[in-house]
């Protein structure tokens, strides 16, 4: 999830307005935004379906309920966020003026992980990852990457040009890995939050029990102290924040497995299957799921 889209109320307004105006007249959207401010004033949380129910009297949701829900979900949870938070003000000033499209080249990156510090230092691990080296289609500097033979010849330190080529490859790999990790974490975090809401709906403080269970199992799962702490923070926020930088896929799988096991035991196997199936289907809607399928967590 992109925390920025939720935690900043201005951005949240803009994103919601942008989604609403695809379906309804501007005046109705303005009223719906008022509901957003009045009924959901707290940042970090935004139950999409509850909001749609709230605005049903203002706008004619009708058959658009699902589409609207998807549009809002995409806007709020995807890594794409409007750069200009004055968008809302500009729109208000124009009182119904058409919203400009977000300039794609200026979109900020999702803020899940600390940006990778690019150095000229030689990263032996990335060079060994030949699969990543092969993934050169998205890279602008294709010529450098194609020189794979030079990469293999890393012992020849005197050949300065080759070393430069290697550094280029490392940079490309870092960027690819960075994007992969971001997508993975976003999908993971998105899934966890939907699961959390689903478990919360079951009532009887089930979500708290699930968190207690996860924390109790954190050590058994061998998540490591750092990840366990992140998990704890996430649980304390009742699933409303990103889960920190748990970026190891195997750890993510362990957590999903544990939640599934818990759900089966405490919600019942039929309910758990329904919850997980709907979670995956909802998660597959977000753009990042195209790059990293939520089904990978069930391997």
């Amino acid at each position: 999830m992109n925390a920025k889209n939720l935690s900043d109320l201005d951005i949240r307004r803009a994103v919601v307005f942008y989604a609403l105006q695809k379906f309804f007249p501007i005046e109705e959207c303005m009223e719906a935004i008022q509901v957003l401010d009045d009924r959901f004033p707290v940042a970090n949380t935004f139950p999409v379906l509850a909001y749609i129910d709230e605005i049903r009297d203002i706008v004619n949701v009708g058959d658009n309920r699902v589409k609207l829900s998807v549009a809002l979900t995409k806007g709020l949870y995807s890594s794409i966020a409007p750069e200009n938070t004055n968008l809302w003000d500009a729109m208000q000033a124009s009182n119904g003026g058409t919203l400009p499209e977000f300039p794609p080249n200026e979109l900020p990156q999702a803020d899940f992980v600390d940006p990778v510090q690019k150095t000229n230092a030689y990263d032996i691990y990335d060079v060994n990852d030949v699969n990543d080296v092969n993934d050169v289609n998205d890279v602008n500097n294709v010529n450098d990457v194609n020189d794979v033979n030079d990469v293999n010849d890393v012992n020849d330190v005197n050949d300065v040009n080759d070393v430069n080529d290697v550094n280029d490859v490392n940079d490309v790999n870092d960027v690819n890995d960075d994007n992969d990790t971001k997508n993975k974490m976003l999908v993971f975090s998105f899934m966890l939050n939907i699961l959390f809401r689903g478990i919360e709906k079951a009532g009887n403080d089930k979500e708290k029990k699930m968190c207690d269970h996860l924390l109790a199992r954190a050590l058994d799962l061998d998540l490591g102290r750092d990840h366990a702490t992140k998990l704890q923070l996430w649980c304390k926020s009742l699933g409303t924040q990103t889960i920190g930088n748990i970026n190891d896929e195997s750890d993510m799988i362990k957590i999903i497995h544990e939640i599934y096991l818990w759900s089966c035991e405490y919600l019942g196997p039929i309910q758990a299957d329904k919850l997980f199936a709907s979670t995956v289907q909802e998660t597959e809607v977000i753009p990042e799921a195209n790059d990293y399928s939520p089904r990978n967590f069930f391997e």
Binding site: Y260, S263, I270, D273, F276, R295, F298
Partner: protein, 437 residues
């Protein structure tokens, strides 16, 4: 042209007549031929019961595990047949001087093997497959396929064939020690069904319940309904139909099959009546699944004594079995044992009851104490032998290659995780497997 054809016809008629009259036809040879035909037909009916088991068990599990259950039924029959031909038949029916174990007629089939021997091997091969397949339903939705097949083969050889030798052996020299004591189990209430049921119980205990079957807070069982109850009902019908061959064929001839098949049918009907009446008395819903299982309970119970009971007592045996089924299912849940198809109750418990009923209701020897004692001994020995060996086998396989499917495999369903196929690919939206593309 016509003349030539006429001549040819007469020559052929002559040759056929010579061939027929070469071997003298006696009443005994005709009877023997008819018996063989009946045994083979009954064997085919017992084979068809495998389809019944597959449909019954397949319908009682969730749609994501259907392929797995059907595969287990299909393959345990095949491997069971091979194992029985190679070792089982010899252990069970081979020369058994000691009374404990048969020692010859492995890999049966040479120049000296008679037609009757072949037909008996075929018929009992189907019985062995039935004993093994009873286990599959109880382990449904959580047992790994390969592990199950291995256990199934071992059960066929070590549990079923050995105990079968005690109760039914031998066809050659010697007599099984239980048979010698006068133990009566005509078509296998204990030898086939109880043995299968107790092995299933061992598997259930080692494997543990399905995920979420019992609420950890309240301890109450949760309902995990089967995905296709009409399919389950069709399986029940097929099993009932196949049972006419199961019991009728065990006469190994056509002499008494009228009484045997009538008793079989009456007992099954009484089983259904018993379960429905008890459900009404207990103010419980009349479940279809339970009703069909009650029919099977009646069939299992009468299997031991269908040849020696009067129809009135066959009805009583089935009626009690139908009631016993409900009590047993309740007890299973109290013990927190998860049996998705109630195989332990139907086959284990009702098989034991049916075997005891032979001692109680044998025609002309009602409530014969000696017979009751012998029957109880046979029932007890069956439980101790099959349960002990099966629990060792299950634990061993669990330790060596793993018996229980992983959590996520259970979530995705064993159809996909074990076989990479879905039973209903157009409709299954709940499975979370990665798409093949």
């Amino acid at each position: 042209m016509h003349k030539r054809v006429r001549w040819l016809f007469f020559v052929l008629l002559f040759l056929v007549s010579v061939n027929i009259f070469a071997a003298p036809i006696t009443l005994a040879s005709i009877q023997n031929s008819v018996d063989i035909v009946w045994i083979m037909t009954a064997g085919a009916l017992v084979f068809f019961m495998q389809a019944g088991f597959a449909l019954l068990e397949g319908g009682m599990v969730r749609s994501k595990n259907t392929v797995n259950v059907v595969m287990k039924n299909y393959t345990d029959m095949c491997f069971g047949a091979l194992a029985f031909w190679m070792l089982g038949f010899g252990l069970m029916f081979g020369s058994n001087i000691s009374g404990w174990i048969g020692l010859d007629h492995f890999f049966l089939g040479d120049k000296e093997t008679t037609s009757k021997e072949y037909s008996l091997l075929f018929f009992h091969m189907m019985f062995a497959a039935t004993a093994a397949t009873i286990v599959s339903g109880s382990l449904a939705e959580r047992a790994r396929f390969t592990s199950y097949i291995i256990v199934s083969i071992l059960i066929t050889i070590l549990v079923y064939s050995v105990y079968g030798g005690w109760a039914w052996g031998s066809l050659y020299e010697g007599v099984g020690w239980l048979k010698k004591l006068g133990f009566i189990d005509f078509a296998g209430s204990t030898v086939v069904h109880s043995v299968g049921g107790w092995c299933a119980l061992a598997g259930i205990i080692v494997l543990g319940p399905r995920l979420g079957k019992y609420d950890p807070e309240t301890g109450k069982p949760r309902d995990i309904p089967g995905h296709n109850l009409p399919m389950m009902a069709l399986g029940g019908f097929i099993l009932w139909f196949g049972w006419f061959g199961f019991n009728g064929g065990s006469a190994l001839g056509t002499g008494d099959i009228g009484k045997i098949i009538l008793n079989t049918h009456l007992s099954a009907s009484a089983g259904v009546a018993g379960s429905i009446i008890l459900s009404i008395l207990l103010n419980k819903p009349i479940y279809m699944t339970r009703t069909i299982n009650a029919g099977l309970a009646g069939l299992v119970a009468i299997t031991a004594g269908c040849h020696v009971m009067d129809p009135m007592y066959a009805v009583l045996t089935g009626f009690v079995a139908g009631m016993l089924l409900i009590v047993s299912m309740w007890l299973m849940e109290k013990m927190k044992w998860d049996d998705p198809v109630s195989a332990v109750s139907v086959h284990g418990v009702c098989g034991a009851w049916g075997t005891l009923a032979v001692g109680l209701f044998q025609s002309g020897k009602l409530f014969n104490i000696d017979q009751i004692y012998t029957q109880l001994l046979g029932i007890g020995v069956a439980f101790v032998w099959s349960f002990t060996i099966a629990i060792i086998l299950f634990k061993l396989v669990d330790k060596v290659i793993g018996l229980r499917a992983s959590t996520m495999d259970q979530q995705r369903g064993l159809d996909y995780s074990e076989h990479y196929e879905l039973g209903y690919p157009e409709f299954q939206r709940d499975t979370l497997h990665k798409r093949k593309d």
